[in-house]
């Protein structure tokens, strides 16, 4: 007892003296997983390492590739800088520790550089891990006389974690020892860090270097000089184009429009863009400075034909047109200092694309515009990195900046709309003009005919031919005009469909979840057989598992059928009337089934609603609801299925009801989950309502269980399908 009290006393005293003690425990697998997420590809990996060089006050960085074009024992990636270097403690306490970015104490590097840190803390190890298996760090700080060399061997970590698997013990990452040594006799004036990666994991082709070059060129603003400089060179002993190539921002080419705004510091005025419809072009206006301070921005817009041209030149590589980037004092600012190779992985921090999904297609998205926004520490001190460094701090100033950016982008939306309208009306106008001219021509001919026929009646036949031709011409032109209008409607509709297709990706991931759950069950049962069979004591389980495996396989087949429905050719969209489809289904297709089950149907669809969608998807929804109702109605006397629907301003609403056993209270949401069923004895697999919900979600609609319309028992589903108003 006394001893414990003593320990507590010492504890409290120690706490006073030492407030910061690090204590790490973690699972290697989870660590690796996080690494894979943070560093999605090797371009990002190099990019992150170069950012670290910037943070270390380097003025020169050399990224060197040696013998990387094919698998090679001599392959190396070497990143050398002339920055401040690391001490032994830096490596131990910073480089080797998992950071969560919120522990960084300083936001700026040492004077005279005062650089705003751009590297994400604790990401270096992940980056190196992505690039190769062995790492040698050579580093030296100014004033010391030795280079510190640390060897870190990822393959050994890997080996250790494998061993730990076989001994069923989790090893801790930090348990691996790393060798280090000092390389003496160095000049005290030398400083810098070299990251030497060997056993390079993947081969690098010239194309990969080209890509890396392009990404590195974005690190520094093309329009704002960095002082002191930050020069990057790319070097390869295999590709001539990269013998020793300085990395320079790529000139932006092939855009259709461009505009630039600046400010007047003396009058404290900010420039802003406005689209002048009368003039048909963008004008620059001056406004009072905004809360976030004065900024400069250059924007390059690619209209449809410019994009086509661009795609042709760059072979459909649309990672080049990449939206608005923010540079602070000439260097790309977090959170934009990330390079996600997959465009869809990029975070849409400014909300540029989100806006489009909600709204119309006249908005400009990140793939149509390149923007470079320059802010400075001096002018815009209120734009602050959030501690998690995933975004800027959510201050009023940042929100105002976001709004301002969106306003500027929306000006390009106006340009887009104007161009489209003028193109559209151009064709229409030309056709209408042609129509008018034909009419004028007809009037002129009629006059000539009138005058001439009096003198020369023998010419009547000639005039008849001309008149016929004029009539034909008139018809052709009228038809063209109406065709043109139809085409416009068609275009609008295609845009609507595009909107409702967005969630197909979610779909795929949902299905993979379903399949893995099923496979997991089957695999565990098979594993049980593998380990335990034969064993008379387990016979009950063997029998049970045999049945369950069979059932699970059947379920799995249903799920794959569901999945295949997306791959089949009838995924095409068509116009059909929801009213007709439901009536057809309930009154014709299921007529026989309902008769034999003695189910009465009531169908009251008040309004008609034509959608352009995949008919099969729609039928799936109702077929599953009907199948459920039939099961629920087994024990009901007077069986009824009722379907009603109406249209209001924004939605088509449907109620689907039966007077079966109903759903248990508390199960209202649960029933939509995959494999959730209360009718297992009747062959329910728990897939029906899951499909119903997913199909409806894909149409951006919603389905819920509401109070049962038919009494005393029963179930009513309310389905809401929104439509796009144009």
């Amino acid at each position: 007892m006394l001893l414990l009290q003593k320990v507590l006393k010492i504890t409290l005293k120690k706490l006073e003296q030492n407030k910061q003690v690090l204590n790490w425990r973690f699972d290697v697998n989870t660590f690796r997983l996080l690494g894979r997420e943070l560093i999605t590809d090797r371009i990002t990996a190099v990019f992150e390492l170069v950012k670290n060089c910037y943070d270390a006050n380097s003025t020169n960085v050399l990224v060197e590739f040696q013998n990387v074009s094919e698998a090679n024992a001599e392959s190396r990636i070497i990143i050398s800088d002339n920055g401040i270097g690391m001490s032994f403690e830096d490596i131990r306490d910073k480089w080797m520790v998992v950071g969560t970015n919120n522990k960084r104490v300083n936001l700026f590097s040492d004077a005279p550089f005062n650089r705003k840190f751009v590297g994400e803390k604790g990401i270096g190890r992940f980056a190196v891990d992505k690039l190769g298996e062995r790492l040698l760090i050579r580093t030296k700080q100014l004033g010391t006389d030795k280079w510190l060399k640390v060897n870190i061997n990822w393959d050994e970590y890997e080996a250790k974690s494998d061993v730990s698997k076989s001994t069923k013990q989790l090893s801790l990452f930090t348990e691996v020892d790393n060798n280090y040594e000092w390389e003496s006799n160095a000049s005290k004036t030398e400083q810098g860090t070299q990251i030497i990666i060997s056993k390079v994991s993947e081969t690098w082709a010239e194309k990969d270097l080209e890509w890396l070059y392009r990404e590195l060129s974005k690190l520094v603003s093309p329009f704002y000089p960095v002082k002191p400089p930050f020069d990057i060179h790319l070097k390869s002993n295999e590709f001539d184009a990269y013998k020793n190539k300085p990395v320079k921002p790529e000139p932006i080419k092939y855009y259709s429009h461009h505009a630039e705004i600046g400010f007047n510091a003396e009058t404290n005025k900010q420039e802003t863009l406005r689209f002048d419809k009368m003039l048909g072009k963008i004008v620059i206006e001056e406004i009072e400075a905004k809360s976030f301070g004065l900024i400069k921005m250059k924007m390059f817009y690619f209209n449809e034909s410019a994009k086509r041209h661009y795609n042709k030149i760059y072979k459909n590589d649309d990672t080049r047109i990449d939206g608005i980037k923010i540079y602070r004092d000439g260097v790309i600012a977090t959170p934009f200092a990330e390079n996600a190779v997959k465009t869809e992985k990029r975070r849409d921090i400014l909300g540029i694309d989100k806006r489009r999904w909600r709204g119309t297609f006249d908005k400009v998205g990140t793939r149509e515009i390149i923007g470079i926004l320059d802010i400075t520490q001096a002018n815009n001190p209120q734009i602050i990195d959030a501690t998690n460094r995933q975004d800027f701090l959510n201050t009023k100033e940042y929100n105002d900046l976001k709004d301002f950016i969106i306003e500027q982008i929306d000006v390009w939306g106006d340009v887009k709309m104007y161009e489209r309208e003028s193109k559209r009306s151009d064709v229409e106008k030309k056709l209408q003009k042609a129509g008018k001219e034909v009419k004028n021509f007809a009037t002129a001919i009629a006059k000539i005919e009138n005058d001439l026929l009096k003198e020369k009646p023998e010419l009547k036949g000639v005039f008849d031919i001309i008149n016929n031709q004029i009539d034909e011409l008139n018809t052709v032109i009228s038809e063209s005009i109406s065709e043109q209008k139809k085409f416009q409607i068609e275009v609008t509709r295609k845009e609507n469909i595009y909107l409702s297709l967005m969630s197909l990706q979610d779909y795929a991931s949902n299905i993979s979840h379903a399949i893995r759950t099923s496979l997991g069950k089957i695999k565990r049962m098979a594993e049980f057989f593998k380990i335990n069979f034969p064993n008379p004591k387990q016979d009950v389980l063997f029998k049970l598992y045999a049945v369950l495996i069979y059932d699970e396989m059947t379920t799995l087949l249903k799920v794959t059928d569901f999945m295949l429905s997306y791959a089949s050719s009838d995924i095409d969209f068509e116009d059909f009337s929801v009213k007709e489809m439901i009536e057809d289904l309930l009154l014709n297709t299921y007529e026989q089934t309902f008769k034999s089950e003695k189910i009465k149907t009531v169908v009251e669809i008040k309004d008609d609603f034509v959608v352009n969608a995949n008919k099969k998807f729609f039928e799936d929804i109702f077929q599953n609801l009907i199948a459920n109702s039939i099961k629920a109605l087994q024990k009901t006397k007077d069986k009824t299925i009722k379907c009603t629907g109406y249209l209001d301003e924004n939605n088509f609403t449907l109620y689907f009801s039966d007077n079966g056993v109903g759903v248990n209270a508390g199960d209202e949401n649960w029933i939509f989950g995959l494999y959730n069923t209360r009718t297992a004895e009747q062959g329910g697999a728990g897939i029906g309502l899951y499909i119903v919900e997913k199909r409806i979600e894909a149409l951006k609609g919603s389905v819920e269980l509401v109070e049962n319309e038919l009494k005393p028992t029963g179930a009513t589903f309310k389905i809401k399908l929104p439509f796009n108003k144009q």
């Binding site: 120690k14 973690f26 989870t30 997983l33 995933q390 979840h513 759950t517 695999k523």
Partner: protein, 207 residues
């Protein structure tokens, strides 16, 4: 003799009662010690209601609508105690888990993250390893010792400092569970003391 560890399985993708994973866990840890909840809200309620027990939680990530997500359950558990080992088992691709959640899992000591398609023997061995660690962890041992004390003893001031702050055993227990500074430093000191005592041979283990 150690008190038995409860294995709380909160997962809706397992075969009810008869899943080989559950069967194997029951064989290893005893029929009574393995509990299975398909509803995450109910599972969490059980865990939070039985903090005085040694527990290992096997946790799914996705649940039906209206139920807490696995990560949320994990967060809610961690708010109350750091002494329950949690092993997450998901049917999703790992990359579907958000980065911030992964960081939270790492920094709050999630024991492991496994796929639902992994061998169940692998998952069982993870549970065994967690159970072993639970028995050997200083904080867990300390927790066990404190919870064994009578209620009055736990509520009585146990120590007064010079600046007149008092600490009861319950205060200490809370700090251990929430991995507060006092709790963590206390663990370290006990380990140091134990090593010190053992090397100087002033005491023997006779417990």
């Amino acid at each position: 003799m150690n008190t038995p560890t409860k294995i709380v399985v909160i997962h809706d993708g397992l075969i009810l009662k008869n899943d080989p994973l559950l069967v194997e866990l029951k064989t290893k840890f005893g029929e009574e010690e393995v509990l299975h909840y398909e509803n995450s809200n109910q599972g969490l309620e059980y865990v939070l209601g039985h903090l005085n027990q040694k527990m290992i939680v096997l946790l799914d990530v996705n649940f039906s609508k209206g139920e807490l997500s696995g990560v949320q359950v994990f967060k809610d558990i961690r708010q109350k105690t750091a002494l329950v080992y949690v092993i997450l088992i998901t049917a999703d691709e790992f990359c579907k888990i958000k980065n911030e959640d992964l960081i939270f899992l790492i920094n709050h000591d999630a024991f492991a993250l496994e796929s639902v398609t992994s061998d169940y023997t692998k998952i069982v061995s993870l549970v065994e390893s967690a159970s072993h660690k639970l028995d050997a962890r200083v904080d867990a041992v300390l927790e066990e010792w404190i919870t064994k004390q009578s209620k009055e003893k736990r509520e009585k001031p146990y120590l007064k400092t010079k600046d007149a702050k008092t600490y009861t055993l319950d205060n200490i227990l809370e700090s251990i569970r929430q991995q507060g500074e006092i709790g963590k430093q206390m663990e370290r000191n006990i380990l140091k003391l134990a090593v010190d005592l053992l090397t100087r041979q002033k005491t023997k283990l006779d417990d």
